[in-house]
């Protein structure tokens, strides 16, 4: 007896076989005239400078982290969405509290500027900001050094 997920497995195999056969058939027909230049990495006609396997923008990492939090909570919400109507108003309240917590986390990330792609200025902690303001009012010179120390 073949279960439904057995059929899905055959779908996976079918897709793999299609790609492998496609590439194999092409390998029988296609030309193969290698030259040294063909096998270089493409970089607009220049010789490639350095390796691309280097550090890239930290933004991508932050997006992945935020996504992870949301995804885990969504996995918890799917069973809730299936059954909450059986529990009436109480069921809704439980889900709503959960959703509101998620929203508070989202607002926090937004406020901290983690949803901005390019941050125009660093967001200082509020206490230091006030102090800087006061000192500007008192016409005192504020160097970066002082802000970091305080």
């Amino acid at each position: 007896m073949l279960t439904e997920f057995g059929k899905v497995f055959i779908f996976f195999l079918m897709a793999i076989i299609f790609v492998v056969i496609g590439v194999f058939v092409a390998s029988l027909i296609r030309a193969n005239r290698p030259t040294q230049e063909k096998y270089l990495i493409y970089e607009c006609g220049e010789n490639a400078l350095g390796s691309p396997w280097i550090k890239f923008n930290i933004r991508f990492y932050v997006v992945a982290l935020i996504f992870l939090i949301f995804d885990v909570e969504i996995v918890l919400l799917v069973p809730w969405a299936m059954v909450y109507q059986d529990y009436g108003f109480g069921g809704f309240i439980i889900g709503a509290i959960f959703l509101v917590l998620l929203a508070v986390g989202m607002v926090y990330e937004w406020r901290k500027g983690d949803l901005e792609w390019a941050r125009p200025y660093p967001i200082l902690p509020t206490v230091v900001k006030k102090r800087v303001k006061e000192e500007i009012i008192e016409n005192k010179a504020v160097t970066n050094q002082e802000i970091v120390v305080n």
Partner: protein, 356 residues
């Protein structure tokens, strides 16, 4: 059901399952040829050009000529590239797209695997594509490819969140994750489609209509973004990144990315159709019912499903030639600052409406 039909005919369930798994492949190949031709003609006519005209009547044989050309192309793997990952990446990308076809109900008689968790399954397998794209970008050892791949990954996973919130709305209203059941619930006329409140009774149906409509819009925007189409085609923005994650690919492996992209366009359209626009149900009723020929109904259902799916594929092409490409920060802002809060409030309101 077509599975039982082939199982009785051939006397083997495995053989039957293999035939069932091969039929969507035939569908994809025909559909890709059509969509490829359509994309050129649509873009040409929108820009007041003619597009391909030489090969066949109005160039309808052009995609076939292209397939023959691409079969003969040399398959180049750069010396510095990671050979194994480079060859495995197209397989993963195509598997991710094709496996989603297993749960899509083309008609009441034809569904690859009638999964109880169909919606969740489609979300799960379409994440395989992200892994494939990252592998392609990393293995190419090319700066454009790597930047394209990480951008693509960030984009696909971000836009998954509004999609899931809207799917949760549908789960709440329909009470099922099975796509066939979802389509059956929308039978009758188009008034029973979930975009018009579904089969919910009384005043709730009318209260649901605006929120379902918002849900539909959010879902469609995020699914266009998930299939990396313009205006969200940052990963393959040709003016800055050459071709994105498939810069280094050539020949048949490149064709697999093409297949996967077009297949993905149909998968997201089919998902939107199955969730909001009645799936395979006809908007008016069936000719088969009228003249009392029961075997005609599944064929009509297949026709309606294909027409609705292709219409939304056409809308994607239309958008491509209408809207300019977004910047990467605008793309992320659209997802995190607009779509997610809207989808979030939508979910809260719908879940509140349904317990009243």
């Amino acid at each position: 059901m077509i599975f039982e039909f082939f199982a009785d005919l051939l006397g083997s369930q495995i053989l039957s399952a293999i035939i069932i798994a091969a039929l969507p492949l035939v569908f994809i190949i025909l559909y890709v040829l059509l969509a490829n031709w359509l994309e050129r003609k649509v873009s040409a006519h929108m820009q007041d050009r003619l597009g391909p005209m030489r090969v066949g009547w109005h160039g309808w044989l052009q995609p076939i000529a292209d397939m023959i050309k691409i079969l003969q192309k040399e398959d180049i793997v750069a010396k510095d590239a990671d050979r194994k990952l480079f060859s495995a990446a197209p397989v993963l990308v195509f598997v991710g797209c094709y496996a989603a076809f297993a749960a899509i109900p083309f008609s009441s008689a034809f569904v690859g695997a009638d999964l109880e968790l169909g919606l969740l399954y489609i979300l799960a397998v379409s994440s395989i594509v992200v892994a494939g794209i990252l592998m392609a970008g990393w293995a190419s050892n090319n700066k454009y490819a790597l930047i394209g791949a990480v951008r693509s990954a960030a984009q696909i996973i971000s836009y998954e969140i509004p999609t899931v919130f809207i799917i949760l709305c549908i789960i709440i209203v329909s009470g099922t994750l099975n796509l066939t059941t979802l389509s059956e619930q929308q039978s009758g006329t188009f008034l029973n489609w979930y975009i018009l409140g579904g089969d919910v009774e009384g005043w709730k149906k009318f209260a649901l209509i605006p929120f379902m409509f918002i849900g539909f819009i959010v879902m469609y925007i995020s699914s266009v973004a998930e299939s990396n189409r313009t205006p969200f085609d940052l990963p393959e923005a040709e003016s800055e990144l050459v071709a994105g994650y498939h810069t280094e690919y050539s020949g048949m492996k490149f064709a697999m990315y093409l297949f996967a992209e077009y297949a993905n366009m149909f998968v997201v359209s089919a998902l939107v159709v199955a969730m909001f626009l009645g799936g395979y149900q006809s908007p008016f009723g069936y000719v088969g019912d009228l003249i009392n020929v029961p075997w005609l109904i599944p064929i009509e259902q297949f026709f309606w499903f294909t027409v609705k799916g292709l219409f939304f594929v056409f809308v994607q092409m239309w958008l491509r030639w209408t809207l300019p490409r977004l910047r990467v920060d605008q793309l992320m802002a659209l997802c995190w600052k607009y779509l997610i809060p809207i989808a979030f409030v939508n979910l809260l309101i719908i879940s509140f409406l349904m317990i009243l």
